[in-house]
């Protein structure tokens, strides 16, 4: 009986994984996606502090020039990194909407995850330490009335999940 249940859940899991994998790979292609992707990695340099692809100032010569430069790079078949490098060479590092993953900029990316991991690990270790150092109570002698009461409390609190707030 138990084996059949396990088999059922395994098969259900397989079917789910298959369905998810099929859906994941049924991707529709969009010719503009690379242009959009890149113009969202760059800033408009007119000091409007907006992402290049979202600068909506009519007559903004900066964004028009940048978008033209981006189109030229894409038409020439350049890779994303070559295009982004050409922007940095022309406008400076501030044109990139996020720090690069090289040199000191890498610190910007690593620090949040490092802090998260360290805090998570620290919290887990702290809880483990607390639970390990908890004074062990002597097992109480069986008192029928207390057992009955415990059982009643368990039954009642189980009805609503045993939660309290």
């Amino acid at each position: 009986m138990r084996g059949r249940k396990v088999t059922f859940w395994l098969k259900a899991g397989q079917a789910l994984a298959l369905a998810v994998a099929v859906c994941f790979t049924l991707g529709a292609t969009s010719p503009e996606s690379r242009f959009t992707n890149l113009n969202h990695k760059l800033m408009c340099t007119c000091s409007c502090a907006e992402i290049l692809g979202e600068c909506n100032h009519v007559g903004c010569t900066f964004s028009t020039e940048e978008l033209a430069l981006l189109s030229t790079g894409l038409d020439a078949g350049s890779s994303d990194s070559v295009i982004l490098d050409s922007f940095v060479a022309k406008y400076g590092a501030v044109v990139l909407a996020a720090p690069t993953k090289q040199g000191f900029d890498l610190v910007a990316w690593i620090a949040p995850f490092a802090v998260f991991a360290a805090a998570l690990l620290g919290t887990i270790l702290l809880i483990k330490h607390w639970s390990a150092s908890r004074p062990q109570t002597e097992p109480q002698m069986a008192i029928p009335e207390m057992d009955a009461m415990r059982e009643r409390i368990r039954r009642e609190t189980d009805e609503d999940g045993g939660f309290e707030q």
Binding site: T29, A97, P112, A119, I127, D160, G161
Partner: protein, 688 residues
């Protein structure tokens, strides 16, 4: 009026200084038992009364500034720079917070208002309130000193008085701007109250956790105002800036978000202190950090520390804030070191899988999120300092780093309520986690079947991947929360015989704090669903002639006219569109672009048609200088209205949580006599 305002500010400063000094002396006398020419209780009461009078003086100063705006008193520099004759009446109020000096006066006004209420309600605990009031007086002295000596809103104009002023920043000439800054400031300033109580309680080694209960209402109100302020700002950015989004990770937006995160962490972790006597030091430092972050936010907004689109209030008062923040930090550290023995926890977390640990992890994630935002906001300065190279830390960075953390936090929102206090049994986990687990995977399939493609064009689309995870986690969390309501409601139904809805209502009234909190969590889930919709935004930009069409999603917009208009305040250009869906005309839209006469600055007035599935968002970008044809950008932004609905749910949930629970006695009276059950069952449906 300038003289009246200046004197009012000076009197307010003198009164606040008296409140601080007399309050401090009285508390010192009380603590040491020394004798003086006046009894310490009486001296403390005069200090309290001076604090109340500060409110009157600051209100007088604020009145003087608004009155000067309404009467176009251009002899005052601030009025000349931020107002003009043609400015509509409602925006004359907004003049007060449109610039550096006025917004500092608004800070002082809000602080005085909170102080006024605090000092009037002192009988709840005279000594604790005396400590809190004196600490608050120190903060008031700081702001009033700036207003008197560094950034006076009543400084007189040198030279000839102009006929008209420069006008209000166009970005502020929008109805929400009349309430967004006051809301935000009420939130910022509101966190000063729990800070004062926490510091005061620590200074006087306040016994027990009563101070937490006293400040809970203050903290929730401040948190609610900050929440409303942040979302009003988002809605304003969405409706005015015309870029189709609502959150740009601008440093000033980040500055408002950071204290919200630590404030949220505090609201959760104080429950642990109240119920279990845990995390006492942690809570004290959380509220210290929240207050310091509100100061940092004000510093970022005012001192031009980082570049921001919110450039309307920059100046050089940074040094004042640096000194004040440093002094505050020193006082906090000193008081903590002196009295840390008072903050020993009564208990510790006993198991990794327990309600207590979920609170701890919730706090951890909120603080990490706060760190990430602070790190991203300040990294350009750090980079410039270390390698001499200024970089931009924009949306792509935050989307990569903050979104996974946010989703983890969302998942914790669902997991927490499913865990029991102290330790959770495997049986309980199995029983409680199955419905959310099934809901999660069912939603994954539904979202994928609906067209979400996390992998396409040979590459991962992080936006669509996060949307998939967000939708699925949101539904999973919603299932977990609703099952809590259903389970509790089911118990009450069994006991009272009421229908399920009435039972859930009674359940909520019996424990407003818990179930109000759940409603807030549902609001957060709804907001996340709305935010996730952003991954499917579409837009079209087109230059249009008369009767040209632009198609976005299921809508076709036909341009039936474009024209211009003018009034004393601004000139405007606008286009009029008939909007068709399925070949039938549905409604009209008229996006607009204004150029304000006084400042000659432009402003977009976006046309938005909102339905639950999406917003049709049309921006009039201006005329093509070459041929005079309007350029229009139309967006289809899915699920945006869910964000605003979620905020309303948060407001409702907070209101419920603030409302006192009905007592078991009241509850049993309301149960029909024939159905009355034994008290032990009727009190709370087994919840307590």
């Amino acid at each position: 009026m300038a003289t009246f305002g200046s004197f009012a500010l000076l009197i307010a400063l003198v009164l606040a200084a008296y409140n601080l000094l007399a309050g401090a002396v009285a508390l010192r006398l009380l603590a040491t038992g020394q004798r003086a020419f006046i009894s310490p209780e009486r001296l403390a009461d005069t200090a309290r009364r001076a604090g109340i009078a500060v409110f009157v003086a600051v209100v007088a100063a604020a009145f003087a500034l608004v009155y000067s705006a309404f009467t176009n008193d251009f002899s005052i520099t601030y009025i000349t720079e931020h107002s003009n004759r043609a400015l509509p009446g409602a925006y004359k109020f907004a003049v007060m917070w449109s610039g550096q000096e006025g917004s500092l006066l608004l800070w002082a006004l809000m602080l005085a208002a909170y102080g006024f209420v605090l000092r009037l309600t002192h009988k709840m605990d005279v000594k604790l309130y005396a400590y809190a009031g004196t600490i608050m007086a120190a903060v008031q002295v700081f702001f009033l000193a700036i207003l008197n000596f560094a950034a006076s809103p009543f400084a007189l104009l040198k030279g000839q008085i102009p006929e008209d002023g420069n006008g209000l920043n166009p970005l502020l000439q929008y109805p929400e701007m009349v309430i967004h800054p006051p809301m935000l400031y009420l939130g910022y300033v509101g966190f000063c109250v729990p800070f004062c109580f926490a510091l005061g309680a620590l200074m006087m080694r306040y016994p027990g956790e009563k101070w937490i209960r006293i400040t809970r209402g203050w903290t929730m109100v401040a948190w609610l105002f900050l929440t409303c302020g942040i979302f009003l700002g988002m809605h304003w950015a969405y409706a005015v800036l015309g870029w189709g989004g609502y959150w740009g990770w601008d440093p000033v937006e980040n500055a408002s978000f950071m204290p919200w995160l630590t404030g949220t962490a505090f609201l959760h972790s104080v429950m642990m202190q109240e119920k279990k006597g845990m995390m006492k030091s942690w809570n004290v430092w959380l509220i210290f950090a929240t207050f310091l972050l509100t100061m940092l936010g004000t510093l970022l907004t005012r001192a031009g520390l980082v570049s921001s689109v919110h450039a309307f209030a920059q100046s050089s008062i940074g040094m004042w804030f640096y000194i004040f923040m440093l002094a505050t930090l020193c006082v906090c550290i000193f008081t903590y070191v002196l009295n840390r023995s008072h903050l020993q926890s009564d208990h510790h977390v006993e198991s990794l899988v327990s309600r207590e640990s979920s609170f701890l992890f919730n706090n951890l994630v909120l603080l990490v999120a706060c760190f990430v935002i602070l790190w991203g906001t300040l990294f350009p300065i750090l980079s410039e300092y270390v390698v001499g190279n200024k970089v931009t830390v924009g949306a792509p960075f935050y989307n990569t780093v903050a979104i996974p953390i946010g989703l983890f936090l969302l998942a914790l929102t669902g997991v927490g309520p499913l865990l029991a206090w102290r330790s959770t049994s495997l049986k309980s986990i199995r029983r409680n986690f199955v419905p959310p687990f099934i809901a999660f995977w069912a939603m994954v399939i539904v979202v994928l079947a609906a067209g979400d493609r996390p992998y396409h064009d040979g590459a991962w689309d992080s936006g669509q991947f996060y949307a998939l995870v967000a939708f699925s986690t949101a539904i999973s969390v919603l299932t977990a929360i609703l099952s809590e309501f259903l389970r509790g409601g089911g118990v009450i139904r069994k006991q009272t015989g009421k229908n399920l809805f009435a039972s859930i209502l009674l359940l909520t009234r019996r424990n407003t704090r818990r179930y109000g909190g759940y409603i807030i969590h549902i609001g957060v889930v709804v907001i996340v669903i709305g935010l996730a919709g952003q991954a499917f935004n579409r837009n079209e930009e087109k230059e249009l002639n008369l009767h040209d069409k632009i198609v976005v999603g299921p809508y076709t917009l036909e341009c039936i006219g474009f024209s211009d208009d003018s009034n004393a305040n601004y000139n405007s250009q606008f286009a009029l569109f008939d909007v068709y869906k399925g070949g039938k005309k549905q409604f009209q839209m008229s996006p607009e672009k204004r150029v304000y006469q006084a400042s000659q600055q432009p402003q977009t007035m976006v046309a938005i048609h909102s339905v639950p599935e999406w917003d049709l968002y049309v921006v009039y970008e201006g005329l093509n200088p070459g041929n005079g044809h309007p350029i229009v950008k139309a967006y289809l932004n899915p699920l945006v209205s869910w964000i605003w609905v979620g905020v309303l749910m948060i407001i409702g949930g907070t209101g419920i949580a603030l409302f006192p629970s009905i007592s078991p006695a009241t509850a049993s009276l309301r149960v029909p006599a024939t159905r009355t059950v034994p008290t032990e069952h009727a009190t709370d449906g087994g919840q307590r």
